[in-house]
Amino acid sequence: MTATEETPTTTGVPFTLNGVELEAHEGENLIDACDRLGVHIPRFCYHPRMTPVGMCRMCLVEIDTGRGPALQPSCMMTVSPNMVVNTESEATVKAQDGVLELLLINHPLDCPVCDKGGECPLQDNAYAFGPGESRFVEEKRHYEKPIPISDLVYLDRERCILCDRCTRFADEVAGDPLIHFVDRGAQTQVNTFPDHPFSSYFSGNTVQICPVGALTAKPYRFKARPWDLTGVESTAAVDSTGARVAVQSSQNRLVRVLGVDSDAVNWGWLSDKERFIHEATDAEDRLTDPLTRDANGEFVVRRWVDANRAAGEALSGDADRIGVIGGARLPLEAQFLWARLLEAKGITNVDAQLGDGLDPAIVSGAPRATIERACNPGGVVVLLGADPKEELPSLFLRLRHAVAEDGVKLIELTPRASGLSSYAKARLHALPGTAAEVAAAISTGASAAVGGVDAAELAKAAELLGSGAPVTVLVGRANLAESPDVTVAALSALHDLVPDLAVLSGLRRGNVHGAIEMGLTPNADGTEAILTAAVDGRIDTLVLLGADPMADVPNRDLAEAAFAAVSTVVSVDTFNTASTARADVVLPAAAWGEVDGTFCNLEGRLSPLAAKVTAPGQARADWIIAAEVAAAAGVDLEVTTLGETRARMSAEVDALAGIDLDALEGEADGPLLAGDHAWSLSAPSVSVPPVDGYGLRLLVDRTLWDEGTMVHHAPSLAHLATTASVSVAPGVLDRLGVAAGDTVSVGHANGSIELPIKADGRLPEGVARVPYRANGFDAGALIGDGPVVDVRIDRVGS
């Protein structure tokens, strides 16, 4: 103790490593310090993002802390002053050799047929530190060869070395401890409970961190050998978190995506959607050729010049009569070019969102938070939006760690309990339509419940928000059946209470934040207004940039009417969708993994999108399509390469000033867009009708696995899509006199539909939930024009 007190606090902890005097950080783990100082210690169980457990004993090194040298696992030792460490001593070498010999006793030597062979830590360590031969002549342990522990992951228990990485990940990172050590001693194995599969949204991470071939991913099994793979670093674009990934291909096909550890974003973890959605790139029914309609209205394959001319003509009409929807899935460069083209043409009816997002003023009109700020210990996070576990799963893992481990305090202001609910300090489950009233009641206090929220919960929230801790609000669209104005009004009320709050945008769709920055934003009321104008005959041309309004706009009747009313539809897309089927000109675009570009995540952080395989058929990169369509429309964008586009962007976009888009690759975290935002949101007024006595207020939200275009085209994921149902609180089930699984009729303003009913303990009373884009029924049909939707559930036949 006295030694540390005498050392000045600014220096590190002095210790001796293999005879060299070095310094470690205060409290630094020995194995981390050795990694940092360039001395590699072999390990299996240690993972820098998880609690050390000392299970595998591979990292034994000789340590002398003044009581003589002894073998200690380096992952379990904090460097102490004047510690003497020897990672190369005779005792260390013998111990590591012995550990490997023991680990290899039961490990099968089937490396030639094992997916891990060639990139296997056990193989590598056995070569580098192992005995080279075994003295074990007895029968090895046998188990049934790979058993599926979930829809996506297989487990081969014979290969398992019981390092506790997957089970630790499931428990402490994902919070889904559905796999566990079972039995004991020589019989110990990892397994699930019978009929309770490891159905975690994050199960694929266990495959990536498994140090042997025990866990393999169904989509990658036997697809390639590691030495055949080539890879690039890229960014997962399936949601707006922008998790960093390594994309690997073999024979010009994407075969695997691995998480890359980025301190600022995803810490190396990915959701299964980000990990396996690359399968969609390889799908059979990709759009491969430009199409236009012939005289009979049938699609015909055209040359690019002809299709471009048709698209250029469509864009050259009366600018006020053209509406442009989409662009959130495009790389930043293509968004920039499209924005310049539309600007040159004077087209202002533009929206990158599909009516299922929020006013982009949330992004530009409020001080922007980073993930780091939200997860900083001591802060307060308000969840005012959709469940991040369902919509932004990589962000969910960061937030979960922050609230579960780092003492960040969470206030839930959501229509139902989220995946983070068990860690929340205040749970304000506001009845749909009342979030703004509830937010306002936090500051004024209430003697009775407001919007179904107890006064006690309101008081807890008031105390947390008034504590002076930095407040970050994660804002998203919690309920697609509710007007987005309710959320903005609630945010505004929170701002009145905490003037220096920062906003982390929860807009979920891929590169939507890039689209907003590049100017693909509405000048008026967005997609719904564009579609309404089309229905009213004020717009006759629709241009769809990777958008499928027929499936994505919540108000489905409106989308249907708009498509019926317009005379020309131009669609730039990667897949045949409900909207491309109704288009007049279809331009095939290259998909994720086929184009270079830039991604802007929900923090405004830029990272590279990289091309790994070639696009099918004649499909082209979006930026080329934009430039060529512009040329056909008589607008010269003055770019012929991606580099020239980037140069224009750096020169013309203030937020990109000083950022070299060509140098993003290899940057660990990626730069943040420049520019501070002052608060400039005004509270919209929404009047929400009271709930009638029989009614339940409708909640429509997304689940990770839905009938979305990408999930639908990924063979391993398509069957995971949630099936349609209506769920209510268990008490409501009793009140209605129905049992879970019964078919009920859900009556709404436009009629009624029949759905199976389920109990959901996460729902408050008075709310009925229907998942959006579920298999079998799309909740879009329930959503109309009002600020909220009330439904009535009846027994069928009564």
């Binding site: 540390t4 889904d176 401890p177 566990h180 050590f181 079972v182 004991r184 699930t192 409970f193 309770h196």
Partner: protein
Amino acid sequence: MSRLNPANVTLAHEIISHYPKKKSALIPLLHLAQEQDGYVADDAMEHIAELVEVTPAEVLGTCSFYEMFKRHPVGTYMINVCTNIACQLMGGEELLHHAEETLGIRPGGTTDDGLFTLEDVECIAACTEAPCLQVNYRHEYRLSTDDFDALVADLRSGKRSDIPAHGTLGTVRQHIPADRRAGIRHPDDEGTPAWFASRQPAES
């Protein structure tokens, strides 16, 4: 077989209330399930998982660690014959072979009438009384093969009322009224333990 019955659910809630963290009641509830059915059924494990708010996999992990929690049906009487060194020298293996022949089952097996399960066990701490065995963990000492036959006959005819069915917990049940319980506080509310605080450097 089944989930906990209503009487046991009431008891389970009382047991859970003895602990600051629900999860701590896991092992007592596994005992309760084994008492109810004679073994710990999968359904019971799922039920316990719901009661103590953990996943079924975690319950299985704990349950399967302990050999005396049986996860498959066993006989009313679990006969553990010791074949460790002292008993082996005094005829333990012969006793086990005799048991196998008499009952018609191998170690690990259960008789067709569901009355007996035979197990071959390591030392059960009665070496001075070898050869010995346990019936539902109650010792029988210095058994000859005839003694064994007599024991089985007594068990079959119900003369051994001192040996309750497998899984039965103690006959004396503890019910601690809420006002007489020691202060149950959640570890998170305890603050820094004194022994730990004394070793922390004083804050300046």
